[in-house]
């Protein structure tokens, strides 16, 4: 048996397309493996997904456990949970991380229950306690007003789900070498009790989490029409439109645009907050942005505490002038 503790990342894929959160987790898990003097390994389930396993190596996995089976052609809780639980029982990972996506959350709860271990949802920080070597999992608690660090001292694996964009994407190195270990699922289609009868893809999804520029609006817009202005600016900059919960609740824009604790976690190169006060629940979703620019009439607005550039003023003066300036710049006039 390998004495080195195994740090595992479940690599989420659909139709052979890996979710980038898996690579972000491999980056972070690599640091944890180093601190534990352990090995970084990935788990890939699906059908015809060897390419995904190779990608996991390019993103840092030393070894990939691959279950490739027609029963896994699309995600279903039962066969996926069965496969991962079986691998955990065989290899006893020390840590298992999954993305806090629809798929990852559905799966993680089942795996943790089968293994009778702890699971911490939506963590924003992961580190190894230098003394006990336990995983310290930090997450916002009680409406984001405080942070709590959680331990799972006596059960293994230590499990958590992490939202996309919480950790940076590590570098990809296609020349990296690693081992692919093939495993059997040991479950036939007859034993799976849920069948997919249809799938209706969304026509346009708002790709907020992976946008490079986000122009975000809050109650300071004064009404839903204000978003027309922000949409124009976002379009010019090749970005997406974000929003605070207050305006989503008011029905000015759809939930898909919401940034924050109960919305998306984002990490753009530039986050432009217009008429957003910057409540803690909003900040936890956008504080990892490279550069934060805030426009707000209230010099005391908490958003200014984290803004790299804080502009105290009326967004209806600044944004139209900015749109004109961007147009000029892009037209090289």
């Amino acid at each position: 048996m390998n004495a080195k503790p195994r740090v595992w990342v479940f690599v989420e894929q659909e139709e052979g397309q890996a979710h980038p959160v898996s690579w972000e987790l491999l980056g972070k898990a690599g640091e944890l493996a180093r601190d534990l003097e352990g090995v970084l390994e990935a788990v890939v389930l699906g059908h015809g997904v060897e390419e995904v396993a190779r990608e996991a190596i390019a993103y840092g996995a030393e070894r990939v456990y691959l279950i490739d089976d027609p029963v896994l052609a699309y995600y279903r809780n039962q066969p996926y949970a069965h496969g991962v639980v079986q691998l955990c029982r065989k290899y006893h990972p020390e840590i298992l991380l999954l993305g806090a996506t629809t798929l990852g959350r559905d799966l993680a709860g089942s795996i943790a229950t089968s293994l009778e271990t702890g699971l911490t949802a939506d963590v924003t920080g992961l580190e190894i306690d230098p003394e006990s070597k336990n995983l310290i999992m930090t997450r916002p608690a009680f409406g984001g007003n405080i942070m709590a660090s959680i331990l799972c001292p006596d059960h293994r694996p230590q499990m958590s789900t992490v939202r996309p964009r919480t950790f940076p994407l590590p570098p990809r190195d296609p020349s990296r070498q690693g081992e692919i270990v093939r495993e059997e699922l040991g479950l036939s289609e007859d034993e799976v009790r849920v069948k997919r009868v249809d799938f209706i893809p969304k026509d346009k999804t708002v790709n907020l989490e992976y946008a490079e520029v986000i122009v975000s609006g809050g109650r300071g817009l004064g009404g839903p029409e204000g978003f027309d202005l922000l949409r124009e600016l976002a379009r010019l900059l090749g970005g997406e439109v974000g929003a605070s919960r207050a305006v989503v609740d008011a029905g000015w824009i759809s939930y898909e645009h919401q940034v924050g604790q109960t919305g998306k976690t984002v990490r753009p190169k530039v986050y432009l907050a217009c008429g957003i006060s910057g409540a803690i629940q909003h900040r936890v979703g956008m504080q990892n942005s490279d550069v934060i620019i805030a426009i707000n009439t209230d010099p005391e607005a908490p958003i200014f505490r984290i803004a790299d550039l804080g502009i105290v003023g009326d967004l209806y003066q600044v944004i139209p002038a900015l749109i004109e300036a961007v147009k000029r710049e892009k037209g090289h006039e």
Binding site: A141, V194, I200
Partner: protein, 271 residues
């Protein structure tokens, strides 16, 4: 149809207080509501019962005052309501919670097996979305999360569920029994009809404790049965603020120039 709904009472507002020593929520004195997603699960149960007939059992685990949540459940058409309340249940994480709920469900199912188990997609106090999947796993029944539409075919003992994923809408089918976690769209809560309101006065919650009638393994309840521990609570640190410009002092032009500078530097202004 025989339906079980699991609901949680959650603190309502933003004015949430924490016990600094234990890092747990102080529930006393904070107004409580039924977790919003669970309300939609109740509404779905009510709609299915009106359409197909049957019986609704509602359970909740919480402090004694959580019986208010059960009284509300009766207004939605619940026929039997059970409160799991005992100090030994306190401090449960999602693993201990799913154990307690699943054992209770197994006990209740001895009378008549359930066709459908309805949960909320998540509870707004912790946002974990782990309890539904945990209970389904313990009961060994198929799990369908994030449901937005549920169609039942009771004669065939079959269900069709639309669930929302990041990429679109997935339509799944399964045979009874199934555990479903509900999003808001599954059903709208109706105004409670008078008859249900009157019934709500008469149906009393049954209280189950760690002593009985469900045969629990004590070590798997509450804090004791919870593998996760709150290690430390702290207020998040803020990153240091940058520069501040007042438009009233520097003018709009200057503000715009400074924003452009950043956009250019970050490479998001390519023509």
């Amino acid at each position: 149809m025989n339906i079980l709904v699991s609901i949680k009472q959650v603190p309502d507002t933003t004015n949430i207080r924490i016990n600094p020593e234990t890092g747990t929520l102080i529930r006393e004195g904070v107004p409580s509501i039924v977790n919003p997603y669970d309300v939609h699960a109740l509404a779905l149960a009510g709609a299915l019962k009106r359409r197909y007939g049957g019986r609704i059992t509602v359970i909740t685990m919480g402090p004694p005052q959580a019986d208010a949540a059960l009284r509300e459940a009766v207004e939605y058409g619940a026929d039997r309501v059970v409160l799991l309340s005992d100090r030994k249940f306190a401090g449960a994480d999602t693993l201990a919670t799913s154990y307690t709920l699943a054992e209770t469900i197994k006990y209740l199912a001895r009378e008549a097996p359930f066709d459908l188990y309805l949960f909320g997609k998540q509870a707004i106090d912790g946002d974990t979305a782990q309890v539904g999947p945990g209970v389904a796993t313990r009961l060994g029944v198929p799990l369908i999360t994030y449901a937005v539409r549920v169609e039942c075919f009771p004669e065939e003992k079959k269900i069709r569920v639309h669930r929302k994923t990041e990429r679109g809408l997935e339509v799944l089918e399964a045979s009874f029994p199934v555990l479903i976690t509900c999003d808001r769209e599954v059903a709208e809560p109706p105004f409670a009809p008078l008859s249900a309101l009157i019934q709500a006065q008469t149906i009393q919650p049954e209280v189950f404790t760690a002593e009985g009638p469900v045969p629990f393994e004590r070590d798997r309840l509450g804090l004791k049965g919870s593998p996760t521990r709150v290690h430390r609570v702290f207020t998040p640190e803020l990153k240091s603020p940058g520069e501040r410009l007042l438009v009233s002092e520097v003018g709009v032009e200057e503000a715009v120039r400074r924003i452009l500078e950043i956009l250019r530097r970050k490479g998001v202004l390519t023509a």
